[in-house]
Each structure stands twice: as C-alpha cells, then as structure tokens.
C-alpha cells in the first residue's frame, strides 16, 4: 500500500512539475504587447484644417531652424479608417465665458475632443457676439464645430465682488445650443453632451455615451464634496443616487454626468434648462421634462467607473500685472493669452 501511495505522489509531482515548466516556458515567450511602435493613428472624421495650414517637417536628418513662416504644425494624421455611417454623432455643448484661463481651457479640451471620432463641438460664448479668440481657436482646432453666442442677462451675470464659486451658470448658453440643435439637426441617431470647459474627460467616456437611447448616466469624480457622485444601479436600472450634496434633488447629478439622445430632445421641444432654478437644480430642470428615473441608462460598468472629473482651474494671481497696469506698463494686450 505504501509503495502505491508513494508512486501516486511521484506521479503527481512529475505531472505538476511538467505542467508548471510548460507554463513558465509560455511566460518566457515575448508577447508583442508593445503598443508604441508603428501603431495606427487615431481615427477621426474629416477634420477641417484651419487657416494656419499644416506644415510638414522634412525627412532627411540634421537639425533645421524653424522657417520664417512661424511654427510648424505636426504632420497630418494618416487618413482615418472608414467609420460606418451609423456611428452616432456626439454633439458636445460647451458654454464658455471670457476670463484669463479661457483659451487654455479650450485648448486642452480641444486636444481631448480631437481623439473622438464623429464629434461635433458646439461652443456657446457668454457674450453679445462671437469673439476673435474663440473663433480663431476653433478654426485651428481641427474639429468639426459650431460657434454660437448667447449673453447672460444682467441680473444673473456675476458681478466683480462675487465669490469665486459663484460662477456663471451657462443655462442661457446651453439653451441656445439646444435651440440650434432643434433648428438645424435632423432626427438622426446622435447624442448631446454638456461638457464644461474646465472638466477633464477620458476618451472612453465618449464611447460609453454613444449608445444612449434616451438619457444615459455615469459617475462623476470630484464633485459635490465627494471623491465621486454616482447613480446606484441594481440589475441594470438606476434605483437611486449616491450623493451627499442636496441628495433630495430629482436628479442629483452633475452636468457632466449624463447625456441625452438627440431624438429625445427633438421629440420634446419644450425641454430646456431653467435659468432661474436654484443652485444644483439646473440639471433636474432639463431632465424632468425628458425622462423618469427608471428610464435612465447606466453606463461605465453599471456606474462603477469614474470616466469624467469635475476639475476646476484656479484663477491665476495677477498681482504684479495689476501693479504694472497702474503704472501704465501692463503687458502687451495684443499678445493673446
């Protein structure tokens, strides 16, 4: 008996050793997981290359001083892969207002959006007319865009003495975008997303929202005094919301936490943002007219992943600038910042 048992052990040992050696040998195989070299370029629709005109660094070595024509843009990407026509368009609505960091915010937002195929950027300025800064930026961005403007009426405009957190609401601007969408867009499969210019968006977010049928929702990071706010999902349906700031709201979401199908907006022409809504109720003022809680579509792995962050940019300190301006020596206003 003892002899047999030992043979069993020996057999087991040899089998497991053999199997493990095989596995180790597999590990040793170089898996060509290098994503870096010779990768296909990102896709994207026919982009409108702006007035600046893409330059092309010459091949054939040696350093070359920059030409007199100014900076060279990177070489244009290879032609984008064919996208099926049924890929829904994403309309990104960004209200913006003039302040020091406006150009920087729009530049880095455009750099993110440039990676997303079939995207149409609708920028609405809080201004009586379109500004040259935004117009030039959009033209150069390489994105498909629409440039609108809608001034906030005086009572709601923030005044110089207001605290920093009391920022413009953007309701009138977003409503202007809704009006443009309703006036000009046919009922096609498309999604509308309200993206503020200071948030941070991961690329996957846009793919999550593309399949929206009515209203899709997902978590938002760094908002409402929390690491993230999110809808609570059970069996694929939204049953509640995990939020700490004013959780009694009908839709305790941030503007960045939902997207609406274009068809739904066109079907409900009365749905819009209420500029007189209390702080935090702006999102609810739109969503109440569109959908009920049960109809919300949870995305981002049943709302367990954070794909967008409600970052805010500090107001840059201008103490020395103000000092200089008092002396009449302020920086050249022709240099755009």
């Amino acid at each position: 008996m003892r002899l047999k048992l030992r043979n069993v052990f020996v057999a087991y040992f040899l089998a497991s050793l053999g199997g493990l050696l095989y596995a180790l040998l597999q590990l040793g195989q170089p898996c060509d997981c290098r994503q870096r070299r010779g990768g296909a370029p990102d896709g994207g629709e026919g982009r409108e290359r702006g007035a600046a005109g893409p330059g092309r660094p010459e091949p054939g070595g040696g350093q070359r001083p920059p030409g007199p024509g100014g900076p060279r843009l990177p070489p244009p990407a290879l032609p984008p892969p064919e996208l099926p026509p049924e890929l829904p368009t994403i309309y990104v609505v960004t209200p913006t207002y003039a302040r020091l960091v406006q150009k920087a915010e729009l530049v880095r937002l455009s750099q993110t959006l440039l990676h997303v195929p079939r995207l149409h950027w609708v920028v609405v300025e809080d201004a009586p007319g379109p500004s040259a800064l935004v117009a030039a930026l959009l033209a150069q961005s390489g994105l498909r865009f629409t440039h609108l403007h809608a001034p906030t009426p005086p009572p709601r405009r923030p005044r110089p003495g207001d605290p920093a957190w009391l920022r413009p609401r953007g309701a009138e601007q977003r409503n202007r975008a809704l009006q443009w969408l309703r006036d000009t867009r046919p009922a096609e499969p498309a999604v509308v997303y309200f993206a503020d210019d200071d948030n941070t968006y991961s690329l996957r977010l846009f793919e999550e929202m593309r399949s929206t049928r009515r209203v899709a929702v997902w978590p938002v990071g760094l908002v409402g005094g929390l690491r993230f706010e999110r809808p609570l999902v059970e069996r694929g349906r939204v049953v509640g919301f995990h939020a700490a700031w004013k959780p009694e709201r009908p839709f305790p979401l941030d503007m960045a936490g939902f997207a609406v199908a274009l068809r739904l907006l066109l079907a409900r022409p009365g749905a819009r943002f209420d500029p007189r809504a209390e702080r935090g109720y702006l999102e609810s003022s739109l969503l109440q007219g569109l959908v009920s809680r049960e109809q919300l579509e949870p995305k981002a792995d049943n709302c367990t992943r954070v794909l967008v962050w409600h970052t805010r940019t500090e107001k840059p300190k201008m103490r020395q600038e103000e000092q200089l301006q008092r002396q009449g020596l302020g920086s050249d206003p022709r240099v755009e910042v």
């Binding site: 296909a40 990102d42 993110t112 990676h115």
Partner: protein, 344 residues
Amino acid sequence: MLRRRNLLTTLLIALPWALLLTLWHQYPTTRYLSLLKKETDENVTSKALVNGTSALREEGLPSCMRQQQSMVATRKVIQNYVYSRPPPWSDNLPTIFVITPTYTRPVQKAELTRLANTFLHVQNLHWVVVEDSPRRTNLVSNLLEKAGLNFTHLNVETPKSLKLGLSWIPSHTPRGTLQRNLGLHWLRNSFSNAAPPEGVVYFADDDNTYSLELFEEMRYTRRVSVWPVAFVGGLRYESPKVSPAGKVVGWKTVFDPNRPFAIDMAGFAISIKLILEKPQASFKLEGVKGGYQETSLLKDLVTMDGLEPKAANCTKVLVWHTRTERPTLVNEGKRGFTDPRVEV
C-alpha cells in the same frame, strides 16, 4: 510523526509551485496577461466594427490583445474600444522627452489623463513620469500602459525633511526637484554621450496646459530654447526679452528680473546632447531661493546669449501655467462616504 521521506515528498510538491509564484511576479508579460482580463480601460477611444471585421484596428494593437478582441467582436454590430494611438514614430524627427513629476492627490488621475490626451497628438514623444512615492502606484502604471504613449515610469520619494524643512514659505518648497533629477539621471543612463540621440528634454508639470504648436517649436532646439509662459509671476505672461537681432537680452518679469534665468520650468527646453555633455548639471536642492530652481540647472548648461528664442521671437504664448483647484471633499467625512475601491 513526520518521516524524512514524507518531508522530502512534501518539499518536492511545494517547490515547483513556489517557483511558479516567484517567477510569475517577475515577468512583465504576465502583467499584460492580467490586463487582458480586465476590461479595456478608461482612456480609450472607439472605432466601430461592422459584423466583426476588424481589419482596420489590427495595426498597433498588441498581438495578445488582438485575439481577445476578435473573439468578442463577432457578436455586436458596433463594437468598441481600441487604444488611441500617437502618430507613428518617425526615424527622422528628434524625440521630445517630457519629464513630468507627479504625486498622489485626488486630481492626479484627471491631470495625467488630460495630459496624455494632449501628448497623444505629438509625434516622437517619450513621456517620463516620475512619481513622488516610495513605490510606483497602480493608478499611474495602469494609466500609462493604457494610454498608448511611449513612456518610462520612475519613482523617487522626497524625504519628509526635505518637504518641510527647507523653507518656511510653502510656495517655495522645491517640489518635484528630486523627481526631475531622476528623470535627467535616467536619460544620462539610457543614452551615451558618444552617440547622443537627436532630441530635447522638456519639464512638463502635470497641471499646466500645452498647445501642440509648442512641441514643434521646441523640437529643433540646438542648446536651450526659451519662450513665454502665461500666468506666472503674477502676470498675464512672463517672457524673455529678445533683441531685434533675435538674441535673449533680459527677462520681462516683475518678480526678480535680475535672476540669471528668470523663467518658469515650463518656459524652456534643453537638447539631449547638452544634457549628456554636462553630466553634472542638475537641479539643486540646497540653498535654492524661491524662483531660482530653474537657474540652478541652467547656469551649468548655457549662458543668456546662448539661448534660442522661440514662439515668434517670444511674442506668442503657447503654454499656460494653469493650476487646478484642490477639490473640497468635505462630504467624505471621517470614514469616507464613497467606495474606496473605485479609483478616482
């Protein structure tokens, strides 16, 4: 009653498993295998597949991922998620090595995400991310691996004494110095002075904003190039003063314009050749006054008349020193309101 024979048998059974477990952790390829199991992650963009034919997306996808994807693809008409790719590497363009020190805080992932989105547009860019931490964190490792960029991931922890002790003015704490020096050290180890690669080094903080033009401006730097930076020194922008002949003759700043190099970290780039030629040049930690950190490096590399002004003779602003507000996580409370397992 343990007999020697039984002991030996037990040992022989346990040994191969112990071997496997130790070697598993060493091999980097296994990390890719584990990544396969996780769903493809946040910073990816989608291409649609029609009826599972995925010919277009094959290039650039690592071969191990390809099999996984094609198996799942056949079912849905619109499939998604491939990594966004930078433009193809060119052998004729100088490389831009971007050194970014970073540290763990709530906005870190957001900052690195949007920075990656920017860098994905730049050709021949190699991102050197240096964490201020005792170990490389999973958050940064995963982000870098999924971004699709050429990268190097380093870490070095700033000792607490250095963080607090050097200056009583918090704004002058030399944050990121050790990390940037480690980046320079890595460059010097990776390339030899005998055959220096064509390229530049740029120190890019993770909260600034960079235009794509900036990278093309700096690419052909011969020694050290400089340009204006917005929102520093309490001004709309600080810039070098450039003579009509195209030479840097001073600094347009209010804060101590008599510094040898009155320029922000984001306002200059150094050619690799110069870094390799002068191996002792690095940022100083001791005895560096506020605003002199850049000088502590540049003085060993170049003099003012050797600087190359870019951005149309320093009249255009191509980089903004933006700073992100610290989010007030007041509602988290003592025990944390939100699930700590969800990465933010």
